[in-house]
């Protein structure tokens, strides 16, 4: 819980930090478009490679980005497996005939148990899980000792594999890009950037300042609320709530004992925030001056041009290839 990165700013210094928040937002938008337009696997792999180069250049450790991805790991695996198992379009690539007999099922079970108890000693839980899964599949498909009592055929089709990898890469790239944005941008800068970027919408009477403020405050408060959740969990643990255990009915009580104080505290916080803002004469919609003015640097032009080129190129590839 403590290591959730979403929305967290991590102080540092690199060109990613020095960029104008407006440029970051626009570049992010352009790159999102590019990533959604891409339909060639090799281009997607290239994009991922590009990001892997960008991270060390921008002095962001891959570990932190991985922490950002971790809450989504389940979603990523789920979409991946779903595509592989149920997409039956294209050429049949390979089939994996799983044959269940008492011996190989227990062998597979043993491997799983070994992984389950061994994972404490390694920090690569996910990687070791993949290895264990591969081992289990091998055992189930290749080794038959006794008469089998059933079987299941996993058929992997070209399209299935393609989309599985493709969608996985797309999600990873999108989350990584957004994580880079929040890691390198102070909430206040992000807020200001949003406000400026959304400004054109004012013509159609959209209250852009308020939208920017809402997004900014939400992002700012994600880590705070996570900290609060942590404290609530400890306080309830003191009263005998064992969050790691419990039957379904107990789980419900546990969740309620976490959510109710969470809501109360969120409302309290927002009340306090509103008071603090009013005490400083904040009036919604009034024009405001800023302590730090945004300055446009050559770096910003460069990044903007690069993102634009990338987007146009990916559209080009899509149309022409």
């Amino acid at each position: 819980m403590k290591n959730i990165v979403i929305g967290r700013y991590i102080p540092g210094d690199s060109f990613l930090y020095r960029m104008d928040p407006r440029v970051k937002l626009i570049a992010l938008f352009l790159l999102f478009v590019a990533v959604f337009v891409i339909d060639e696997l090799w281009v997607m792999v290239g994009a991922l490679a590009g990001i892997l180069v960008l991270l060390p250049l921008g002095k962001i450790s891959i570990k932190k980005v991985y922490f950002g991805l971790r809450p989504l790991l389940f979603l990523l695996i789920f979409t991946f497996v779903f595509q592989i198992l149920f997409n039956t379009q294209g050429r049949l690539l390979t089939t994996l005939v799983l044959d269940f007999d008492p011996l190989n099922v227990s062998l597979a079970g043993l491997i799983f148990i070994a992984w389950f108890y061994g994972k404490r000693w390694t920090s690569f839980t996910f990687l070791s899980f993949l290895l264990a899964l591969a081992a289990i599949l091998t055992v189930l498909s290749q080794v038959t000792f006794l008469r089998s009592f059933g079987g299941y055929t996993i058929a992997i089709y070209e399209e299935g594999l393609f989309f599985a990898v493709f969608i996985l890469l797309r999600l990873v790239i999108i989350v990584t890009l957004s994580t880079i944005l929040t890691i390198t941008t102070k909430p206040t800068d992000l807020n200001l950037g949003l406000e400026r970027v959304l400004k054109p919408l004012k013509i159609v009477k959209v209250n852009t300042e308020e939208i920017a403020m809402i997004i900014g405050i939400s992002l700012r408060y994600i880590p705070t609320l996570l900290d609060e959740a942590n404290k609530i969990i400890l306080a309830q643990a003191s009263r005998g709530v064992d969050f790691q255990e419990g039957k379904f009915k107990e789980k419900i009580v546990q969740i309620i004992s976490l959510l109710v104080p969470m809501f109360i505290i969120s409302f309290q916080r927002s009340d306090e925030l509103a008071n603090a803002m009013e005490a400083r004469c904040f009036v919604p919609g009034k024009p405001r001056t800023r302590l730090n003015q945004l300055t446009w640097k050559p770096l910003d032009t460069f990044v903007l041009v690069v993102s634009l080129v990338l987007m146009v190129a990916s559209i080009g590839v899509r149309i022409l290839w």
């Binding site: 003191s238 009263r239 709530v241």
Partner: protein, 286 residues
């Protein structure tokens, strides 16, 4: 023996800040019966972090915490086979801020929550809850009220009752008297004393008020920047020259004596109110 910490250090890790060592090499022993300990120290000195090691909410980053028959280290803490809940039943911790735990619709249900979790039947838990509420001075009219519509001090009492209701062997209170008026503070401290007289429960309380330390505690622990710098009787503490360095006050009575010493050249050291009265009378006569 109840609690024994051996060379416990705790480091807070977070991604956007450098690691912070909130406890440094703390060793101490707290007996399971009849202790009355005040834990003091300036803001941020690690008091709350320390007491969360007392009931297995936190694990030492290094060193070990022996809580009754369970020994916790950084490694064994992760072991799911070692159950923490029984420890938390025996060592009850009341948190600094009641907002973090109140959640039921009524005060009575909320106080009965802990005993119910620790395996009591509904009726038994309700009975314990009623008893605990009477103890902290909340009468029947509070039972059906929503815990969210209480004043700060009342919430505090409800959260204390919530732990009292589970009748722990060791009762740990993180600033139980903060946010209460002086009369209620005194009343609560008396409640703790009478609980101890009745059941020999050991009591540890965090406070910033030296008057309570002097009046109630048999033993004081002083924290400074994550280290335990003093462990002894209140009386010994107030003689220590380092008090100012530890950002600590002396009880009002000591201040009065200090004043009399410097401004009226009192010679006799006085320690009890009666002695003080005698000394003033003597001084007045001479």
């Amino acid at each position: 023996m109840g609690i024994r910490l051996h060379a416990v250090s705790h480091v807070y890790q977070s991604i956007n800040q450098p690691p912070f060592e909130a406890l440094k090499n703390v060793s101490l022993t707290i007996q399971a019966t009849d202790e009355f300990i005040a834990l003091v120290g300036e803001t941020g000195s690690g008091k709350s972090t320390l007491v969360q090691h007392f009931n297995a909410l936190m694990a030492p980053t290094s060193g070990e915490a022996q809580l009754f028959d369970v020994t916790l280290t950084a490694e064994t803490f992760k072991d799911k086979k070692i159950k923490k809940t029984p420890i938390r039943k025996r060592i009850g911790l009341v948190f600094q801020f009641p907002e973090y735990q109140l959640f039921e619709e009524t005060v009575l249900k909320d106080v009965a929550f802990a005993p119910k979790n620790f395996g009591l039947s509904e009726e038994a838990a309700i009975q314990k809850a009623k008893d605990a509420l009477r103890l902290v001075g909340l009468d029947e009219s509070f039972e059906a009220r929503s815990p969210f519509h209480l004043s700060g001090g009342e919430k505090k009492r409800v959260s204390i009752a919530g732990i009292l209701a589970m009748e722990p062997d060791i009762l740990v209170l993180d600033e139980p008297t903060s946010g209460l008026d002086p009369k209620s503070q005194e009343m609560l401290m008396d409640v703790f004393t009478s609980i101890q007289n009745r059941t020999h429960t050991s009591i540890v309380f965090i406070t910033h008020d030296m008057n309570w330390v002097e009046r109630y505690a048999k033993r004081v622990l002083v924290m400074k920047a994550g280290s335990l710098v003093f462990d002894g009787t209140p009386h010994a503490l107030f003689q220590r020259p380092e008090l100012a360095d530890w950002k600590m006050d002396v009880p009002d009575r000591f201040k009065v004596m200090q004043y009399l010493k410097t401004h009226h050249s009192f010679k006799d050291p006085v320690t009890t109110p009666d002695e003080l009265i005698d000394a003033i009378i003597r001084e007045g006569q001479s």
